[in-house]
Symmetry: C3
Subunit: 440 residues, 3 copies
Amino acid sequence: MKSTVKREESSVVGAGPWMYRFVEELYLICRSITGEGVRETLRRIDSHVPIEVHEVPTGTQAFDWTVPKEWNIRDAYIKNLAGERVVDFRKSNLHVLNYCIPFRGRVPLKTLREHLFTLPDKPEWIPYRTSYYEENWGLCASQRQADALRDSEYEVCIDADLKDGNLTYGECLVKGSTDEEVLLSCHICHPSLCNDNLSGIALATWLARYLTERNTRYSYRFLFLPGTIGAIVWLSRNENIVPKIRHGLVIACVGDAGKPTYKKSRRGDAEIDRAVLHVLRTRGSDFSVREFSPFGYDERQYCSPGFDLPVGSLTRTPHGAYPEYHTSADDLHLVRPDSLADSLSIYLELIEILEGNAIYTSLCPKCEPQLGKRGLYRALGGLADAGEGEMALLWVLNLSDGRYSLLDIGDRAGLNFRTVRYAADLLLEHNLLAKVRAGG
Amino acid sequence: MKSTVKREESSVVGAGPWMYRFVEELYLICRSITGEGVRETLRRIDSHVPIEVHEVPTGTQAFDWTVPKEWNIRDAYIKNLAGERVVDFRKSNLHVLNYCIPFRGRVPLKTLREHLFTLPDKPEWIPYRTSYYEENWGLCASQRQADALRDSEYEVCIDADLKDGNLTYGECLVKGSTDEEVLLSCHICHPSLCNDNLSGIALATWLARYLTERNTRYSYRFLFLPGTIGAIVWLSRNENIVPKIRHGLVIACVGDAGKPTYKKSRRGDAEIDRAVLHVLRTRGSDFSVREFSPFGYDERQYCSPGFDLPVGSLTRTPHGAYPEYHTSADDLHLVRPDSLADSLSIYLELIEILEGNAIYTSLCPKCEPQLGKRGLYRALGGLADAGEGEMALLWVLNLSDGRYSLLDIGDRAGLNFRTVRYAADLLLEHNLLAKVRAGG
Amino acid sequence: MKSTVKREESSVVGAGPWMYRFVEELYLICRSITGEGVRETLRRIDSHVPIEVHEVPTGTQAFDWTVPKEWNIRDAYIKNLAGERVVDFRKSNLHVLNYCIPFRGRVPLKTLREHLFTLPDKPEWIPYRTSYYEENWGLCASQRQADALRDSEYEVCIDADLKDGNLTYGECLVKGSTDEEVLLSCHICHPSLCNDNLSGIALATWLARYLTERNTRYSYRFLFLPGTIGAIVWLSRNENIVPKIRHGLVIACVGDAGKPTYKKSRRGDAEIDRAVLHVLRTRGSDFSVREFSPFGYDERQYCSPGFDLPVGSLTRTPHGAYPEYHTSADDLHLVRPDSLADSLSIYLELIEILEGNAIYTSLCPKCEPQLGKRGLYRALGGLADAGEGEMALLWVLNLSDGRYSLLDIGDRAGLNFRTVRYAADLLLEHNLLAKVRAGG
């Protein structure tokens, strides 16, 4: 495992530009919680990793929720009296209130303003607004555009359909040697917004690509879902899979220049929580940690009390904490290839821990074994500094009593998981250790 | 409950001057652990709330203790050779050593000094001294008065009785809908000392008045007792009531300008401890917290190992921590109407938590319920700030799994109990929540 | 117990120079893990306390280890072409690579340098090096000596034996009234190094002397062992004794001027850990605490997972943390009589806690007993300051419910163990307390 990961990590830097190019490719598609934009996005993902696409008809019940109508949009604009498009969906798909009802007509300026959303504090930016569960029509514009409206009335066109159809989501199961699963979920419902969440889609796609080329213990289930309703629909149709899920992460906002941020699962001390914190702590660069809250992305559903899955969220600057969030400024400038690559390397290092963590028992529990006679230990004693590798050997031998996992040992010893794992492998080779069970 | 409390809290500010006036009224009465002063004090309390007065004869056994003799005093003085009263009980009842034996005679200055207590560091103040369990005669004076004694001998008179009689205490039970009790105890044995503890007597009286006008779940038992011996006598006569006590507080020193101080119960993490800390933390003003110690007021007895009741003590500047403590400077200037009102409001907010705390279970535990379709949630999504009320709805739904109480949820979510309770009530109305049990 | 300890502690200061003199006496003996140096050292210890000496033949199996050959050395030197001894074992026994094979011959300077160990950063100091488990010959010298070697070849002599023989260790069991044991272990394999570990040998010897003159509850087992192999051999031959060991400490580096340092046992919260921390905290001078790690002295073996004994290590500047460590500068200047005496006093205070710790139950658990009528309490009430002794009485009565030991009470109350113990003794005398069991 160790050497494999090392090789791939060096290629992670190379993956940054590729992931970035995929973000660019998806940027122009107008997505919503249903409709062709979602389907097109899944087709593009499928060109990298095989995706199983699910279509769930409008009206299908999913716990407390009902699958809504399918929304498709062709065009939208505001025309002035001179017939010029002063707000134009073709320039940015954020200009339409996402999931709004179709509308066509001439409206006085006063009425138009009631249906026009802006950001007065950020006069150049277009806000991202949705109206999923209340029927409304509306457009979004920059404050500068709104201020320029002087005509007495305007022609408004929202050429959209909101009809019975399907909710669409994609699933990619990378099978491992066991049925135990790691859930990796990202939302795919946002239109031209790069960090939230084309970055997450790109990272999940590349992570799935890496894992298909590798032998793993866990099976990795990637979900590409419309936010909230998609996760609820998936859970309602897959209650039989839920008991197999050992760990999970919601992937979002992984492309900006901010530091990594981990939001813990509802449990707070699940193995996934401890594994992510181990990775972030031992990397040596800044990061932040947030306690669970029932507000954010789809961890809300995975961590609802009826499931209480060990699912956290590993982002860079999180949900709502950067000024460009949910505006047209969350664009191709905000996301960076090196940030995507750095995020990917964190996810890979984490997977290395999940795959490699295990509980062992020493086969020589009474006193230390003689490492020297096995060539495991420098023969020349008496040095003050015995080296990190030797420390790892001693720690693994001392704490492997059937209670502590390698991750526990790394955390207690202040040693990197990789070093501890390396020591455990050496000791296994020399019959000084036996595996009690995989996992933590 | 919520609206009721709000109305009453607004009248709490108005209660400050009334409580202060009651302190003034009680100030001139000379109290001790037994005697007419206690009876007169209980009569005055009874003019506000109905008090059941208990008389326990001298010699009655109470665990390791025996009810002592009844002490009554009429007059006490030191007269100089010119026949002038240089120390005069009529000017301050602190001038007599509380509970001292009667004495009458001419004594040389040297002997007098052995029986005269002063505070050399505070030359203007008279100390408060007692001699409950050792027979002695004595007087207390300011250092200034003591320094002025120049005659060769003085006439001393302590016109008191120390005879078989009764120990007197008062009890006021405000019945709630259940037999579970909240114990509220204050000591009434101190003579002209305002903060310690006329302030506590006044607050307990007003709290009892409020509760008699309200429907509560708990029954509230107010005890007006002589310190130490009174609590011991009460416990020895009411062992059958002890198992009903769910929470308790000792009320003392609640009228000075200092910040609120909470001394935890012996258990340290009882519901009363967490509830008081929640109130103090969410009020936004300064406060302090002390761990339990077996030194202080009657929590010593309630928290003795044979009872170990969840009884803390909620004061302002505590026992022994202000310079005027147990001196004539603990007078009507030290206690302030607004401090009394502020203390009362803290007690009322605490009672609101005790009454309203409960454990619920979500009736929609798998994924979030759709709050939007019930009008519980703003229909227009996509905003970064969802508002505290919505957060409370989500937190209550997420943590209501039969393990967490509303107080737990408020503490974990960083939300005020009232907001959490409001959210729970809304969810109950919409059949999204069911009560598992009252309490924490 | 209390008065006894006090008397002896006053004589602890007097013990400093005596322990120092013993360090001086042992300093010139050349020790290794086997051989005459160990035997001679044990003979000198036996002149102070009776030592049972054990001889374990070469080749004996001890868990994963085998007792090595016996090493004895008579002389070693490097002679230049002029026949002068430029490196001379007779000047310092550190000049020989400890436990090295015999060698005699003329070698070119280049070859000699490959077998000559120095400390380039500390040009005046001779390093201490060993080669226990790899056959090698070598010498150690100061960098200054090494730099002065200019001749083309040198005559090398290591007049040593490495032959079948015995491993020797010493044991001193000071019997108490019970079979429960406290293990006190120190390594005796280092040659002319004073702090590490002639200081530990001297302290252990004096501690054993003190304990032989005292009635104790625990039996105290002192082990004088070669490091690592000695502890492993002892454990392999005494598995029946292991279950009797209640507490243990490894004694090393107790003579330098640094502050006391405690390294916790693997368990981290054993009674020994809490007792040592109590002593260090209540002494009022600086100290440091380290978590357990499987690197250091023989706690490595006692805390191996098959034994997991509650054994910590109480040193001054620990293992490897002072520049003179394992060099000729760990000499008679580094160790000081007053530091030895201070260390001894810490060990004695600790033993006082281990001996005196117990769990009691109050015989008057409902309310406080009336201390006044028993003369246990100042009769004159009403003072703000009640005194530490009275606080101890109240704390012991309040927490003695069969769950808390006196050590627990001292830690929770912030009171010195001795004060708490004194209070418990008073309460026992007055039939207010009964012992539940010795220990914590």
